[in-house]
Symmetry: C3
Subunit: 244 residues, 3 copies
């Protein structure tokens, strides 16, 4: 299975063109459009989102991850094998949260360049064939060089920032909920946000936090948009407050 995680836009043709390129190299591969609305100009938020989602990837699957404002510049391209899952993408920080949290990982730089490489669409021209070969079990050793570490490594500890806002207006954060007690509160702007287990427990007109399905702290509002209510945007910061 190949999973696509990009900022290509769910309405634009780029994800379809990448899919066609993958199938040209590996006709029977199952491809999942996971997300094509990753935050374009916020590699850090995207890196934390990718890390949270990676828990859902099947063992042995290949994720093509592309949030790549520097495409065509000197940034390098990499293959990563982390905790038995594969990742293909730019070496610009996007893979570094997964890498930092992995118990076991291996890394390769992609030296190969295809006959035609556009300056702006490495997803289609470079990452798609590499991912297809890996998924088919034809690991392209001769096209790669093993490396010790990524060039760009972001801080991979929990991030007290908004990393994604969904169409309901729910606000995903870069904080993993597993370690956070239910009496914890979050201070977002002038609002204090307390815990509720499920949406129907949320008091009307008052945002709450809960552990979302990716294991992250998420701010929500029962039957309405927490993002509108709080005026939240990707990249906004907040504080954790633990009452005595």
């Amino acid at each position: 299975m190949i999973l696509l995680f990009t900022d290509y836009g769910s309405a634009d043709p780029y994800s379809g063109l990448m899919r066609a390129a993958i199938w040209a190299h590996a006709p029977d591969v199952a491809i999942v459009d996971l997300l094509h609305e990753a935050p374009s100009f916020n590699t850090r938020a995207s890196a934390h989102l990718l890390s949270a989602m990676s828990a859902c990837f099947p063992i042995g699957s290949v994720c093509v991850a592309v949030v790549d404002p520097g495409v065509g510049s000197a940034r390098s391209a990499v293959v990563m094998h982390a905790d038995e899952k594969w990742y293909v993408g730019p070496d610009n920080g996007l893979l570094s949260v997964v890498a930092g949290r992995a118990l076991q990982s291996e890394l390769w730089r992609i030296d190969w360049r295809p006959e035609y490489l556009s300056d702006s669409f490495h997803g289609r021209d470079l990452f798609a064939p590499i991912a297809a070969w890996i998924d088919r079990g034809a690991f392209p050793h001769s096209k790669l060089s093993e490396i010790e570490r990524l060039n760009i490594g972001l801080d991979y500890s929990d991030l007290a920032e908004v990393i994604y806002i969904d169409h309901y207006g729910n606000i995903m954060t870069g904080m993993r909920a597993a370690q956070i007690q239910r009496n914890a509160q979050f201070l977002f702007g002038s609002s204090t946000i307390e815990f509720a287990r499920v949406f129907s427990d949320g008091l009307s007109g008052r945002p709450f936090w809960y552990k979302n399905s990716l294991g992250l702290v998420e701010f929500a509002l029962n039957g309405a948009s927490a993002a509108l209510f709080l005026g939240a945007q990707v990249g906004d910061q907040f504080e954790l407050y633990l009452p005595d």
Copy 2:
């Protein structure tokens, strides 16, 4: 074939995560993203839309239907076999229009709970594996209890309300067109809407009604947005008027 009918948002990651979960249980299943923009806070409109679309589902196919604002609360989860098609989803009214109109149907409550069940994403954790097993022909008898009827049954007669607005601005209603004469008019706000067979027959600048491809009465405007013109929103009501 598995068809996905949800309010998960076509741009958000939830449909992809559900697809990955289905394929984890049934690797070769064909999955169709039918609709991920069902009206979130209007189970009744979604139920009528699902019923209209179900005419297009192949015999033996499985539809995962999720519009589920009460996820994580006490509402129950069900499997339905209606007129030789399968449905998996919450027992909150969403399946009740299909059920009410079916010539033949059977119902089961889902007793099984997976090892990990998130509070907010039963589509991925509960409905996806059940649908995968049914599609593979491994009906999960031991995980279900047959029941007599749904807990929540909505009125399944024609609904004189807006149930969906598409990106052209065309307005789908909950009224089935088969029984409605072509001289019928609809009163929407202060507008009177007459019949036209196809878009190019519609008079410029004047909304018309026609039988859409799902068999429903739809209000449209030739080359423009009827929804903008009429100020229509999902849930708006209107009246049928039959001239002498």
Copy 3:
């Protein structure tokens, strides 16, 4: 492989309904959602966009192309084999830029009508089964009549107009970049647009042009929306200026 190029809307149910119809006739076909946001009321822009994308289609693939405001009227429906790729769609100009630029092409009118043909959704009812049969290798000779040329033929030379704007705000044009020198400038409204090879070469706050991944001239802005900056919309015209 079947590729879908339509204006059906990426969030609406029409593309899923067409996919289900294709799979009903050809269960194992790989289907790519290439684009469902082709410019609805601008067949010419859509025709140039389709032509540019067709370079990415695999040999032997089938593209269902539907931008069809006149659906249900007297316009005819066609199958085209152009440079070893198949196209199925309306004869309203949409296929004419591909046709005009093809080195070799054959054309057929679709005479067949299915038992049930809706007035508004020929993609599902007419084009889907035809495409499925062609892809399966069961060319439907008896349902077609060979024709000499399309009824509607648009000018297929380069088009100095905006044909698509993506979610980054990048502006695709109908001009092929291969023949255009790098010292060329474009005059768009009151702005003069010069060349840059990649986004990171673009001067901050100043739009540039580059050869995009489809081979077209594209206007962009490093880290921001060129469309917002220039106030551009699909159909806007501009001029090519070649300094001495």
